[in-house]
């Protein structure tokens, strides 16, 4: 599924029209009638393309993702245009958005520990989009859940477990399974590795990329870590203070970042990678988190 975002503005606590006026003198983006958190963003994702959205914390990355899903927090307002495979999201009805979400767009969240319902079993969480969008029998849903568990590297006995019985990596695999159970055409991964350690990060990114490629889906991968982005995407946008600061092929941006914010993010990623490689303790602890619940 292709994504085409044109002139997207998101403001919190005011009218979006005023957001075009730019930020206040303090650089906070606050003006007289609201706080502009996303400003005049243009972004495209082609069919089957894996595109990254990178920026420091609070730069507005997640707000762009939430705008795409029609899940902006209360008091936030988006203007501009977001076209998801021919459907205009801004101004769409709740029914249209609910039909789009889960069926055509899957979302992987940042913190798997909090994005899974603590009182639902793994199987119930994964089958939710199926239950909502498809008229399947219980046994058909169960078969699909079991197949999906296998795909994401979890054993069948995980189906009856609750989130607190799983490790962080296992929880994120459940999150990925939930996002992919309906074979959506677009995956929005909102910092899916931030809450995980570096080894599990790599496993999750590789899993996500292989599943997305196998399904022929597009992916918008949001992160603040260039080392993760390089593994997950081919093209990326650097977001700074709600604006697109730079865009291009991920490899090119990593080799020669053009803006100060991109240079800072690349520099941080290199320092982290070097320290990880230099530590024998880290390099010797590579293991799979398959099975072995907490």
């Amino acid at each position: 599924m292709s994504v085409e975002i044109r002139g997207l503005n998101v403001t919190i606590g005011g009218h979006a029209g005023s957001a075009r006026g730019g930020s206040g003198r303090d650089g906070s983006g606050r003006d007289g009638s609201g706080n502009a958190v996303v400003r005049d963003v243009d972004l495209t994702v082609g069919d089957g393309e894996r595109v990254g959205l990178i920026g420091s914390s609070g730069s507005g990355k997640s707000m762009i993702a939430k705008s795409m899903l029609g899940l902006l927090p209360r008091g936030a307002r988006a203007t501009g245009s977001i076209d998801l495979g021919g459907t205009e999201v801004i101004g769409a009805s709740d029914r249209t958005l609910a039909d789009l979400r889960g069926r055509y767009v899957g979302v992987v969240f940042q913190n798997p520990g909090t994005s899974l319902n603590p009182v639902s079993t793994v199987a119930k969480q994964i089958e939710l989009p199926l239950r909502l969008h498809y008229d399947l029998t219980a046994s058909e849903r169960r078969d699909r859940v079991m197949a999906m568990l296998d795909k994401v590297g979890l054993t069948a006995d995980m189906a009856g477990k609750y989130p607190h019985e799983l490790s962080g990596g296992q929880q994120q695999r459940v999150g990925i399974a939930t996002a992919l159970i309906t074979s959506p055409k677009l995956i929005v991964a909102d910092e899916p590795t931030t809450a995980l350690d570096s080894i599990i990060q790599r496993q999750i990114v590789d899993l996500l990329v292989s599943l997305v490629d196998d399904a022929g889906a597009s992916m918008l991968f949001i992160t603040h870590d260039f080392s993760v982005l390089a593994r997950a995407t081919t093209r990326c946008y650097v977001i700074d203070d709600g604006r697109v600061a730079e865009e291009g092929a991920t490899a090119d941006l990593l080799a020669s970042p053009g803006t100060p914010v991109a240079r800072e993010l690349v520099g941080s990623a290199r320092r982290l990678t070097l320290s990880a490689v230099g530590s024998p303790a880290v390099s010797s602890t590579v293991s799979s988190d398959r099975g072995g619940a907490r």
């Binding site: 899903l69 709740d94 969240f109 939710l128």
Partner: protein
């Protein structure tokens, strides 16, 4: 799926039984339900049987708890009254729970206007006492069990909404609800399937307290003349008919008073036992 549900009920009962307060509550509630069922088929004396020669009689073999001012058997009326009070308690829990959840759902809705309006309405209405609601309902409907259930449901539903709102707000703003919405769930679906199960501890405790308070409310409202209709057996009715001569025949007041106290304490302790069992993760 059904056996899983039955298994959960038994697990919950076991968790409650392990606690002293839970054990007391289960025994009293079990007795209450058993007596209510038995009274459908049998009471020591027919309810309408009166003995004008033995009014305010002391306990005897024929009348184990004595008789009241009309010569009716106190035990028979208390047994039959347990049915009425059980119905009032169950209906109050169901109706106040439904009203409370509806209001909580509106208060945590994504529509800021709807949410703030509901909060304002709840805050305004919660100041109206149960007795006044019952009096207002009695005007068009007359004194009846329905009026007690209606008054208790409105008052306790509002209270439930106010108490459950903070927990519901936390759940409604949680990542797992956003995850459900991102999966295509509607706001109402996310509320009923994701928010409500996560605020069950608050709901359970509050609803058991509501059940207990409905027993007290029935007694109070019936005493004031806006409770169950005349001739309908209830614990409040037994109290109100005997309380006028409490100084002369105190024993006839003691029995219904004792039953009301035992039931209310049992329901409150059940709430406490639920709470501690859920805190420990036993439920």
């Amino acid at each position: 799926m059904e056996s899983e549900g039955i298994g959960r009920v038994f697990a919950a009962l076991r968790a409650l039984w392990r606690r002293g307060s839970g054990r007391y509550a289960l025994i009293v509630l079990g007795l209450w339900i058993a007596v209510a069922i038995v009274s459908l088929f049998w009471t020591p004396q027919p309810l309408l049987a009166t003995d004008g020669y033995h009014v305010w009689a002391q306990p005897s073999a024929a009348h184990p708890l004595g008789t009241d001012g009309t010569g009716a058997d106190v035990l028979s009326w208390l047994m039959a009254g347990s049915r009425t009070n059980l119905v009032i308690a169950v209906l109050t829990v169901i109706c106040s729970g439904a009203l409370g959840l509806l209001l909580v759902g509106l208060m945590v809705s994504r529509s800021a206007g709807l949410a703030s309006t509901t909060v304002a309405v709840v805050d305004a209405l919660i100041s109206i006492p149960t007795v006044l609601i019952a009096l207002l309902l009695t005007v068009p409907f007359g004194a009846s069990v329905g009026v007690i259930v209606g008054a208790c449901s409105i008052a306790y539903g509002l209270n439930l909404a106010r108490i459950a709102r903070p927990s519901a707000m936390l759940a409604a703003r949680s990542d797992y609800v956003e995850s459900a919405l991102a999966g295509g769930a509607s706001g109402w679906y996310a509320f009923t399937r994701h928010v409500v199960p996560n605020i069950m501890p608050v709901l359970t405790v509050q609803l058991t307290i509501s059940a207990g308070t409905s027993v007290l409310a029935e007694a109070g409202l019936t005493y004031l003349g806006v409770g169950v209709g005349a001739g309908v057996p209830s614990w409040g009715h037994s109290l109100s008919t005997s309380v006028k001569l409490i100084n002369v025949f105190p024993l006839t007041v003691v029995w219904p008073g004792l039953v009301v106290t035992l039931a209310v304490v049992a329901l409150n302790l059940l709430g406490d036992a639920f709470n501690s069992a859920m805190d420990e993760g036993s439920l």
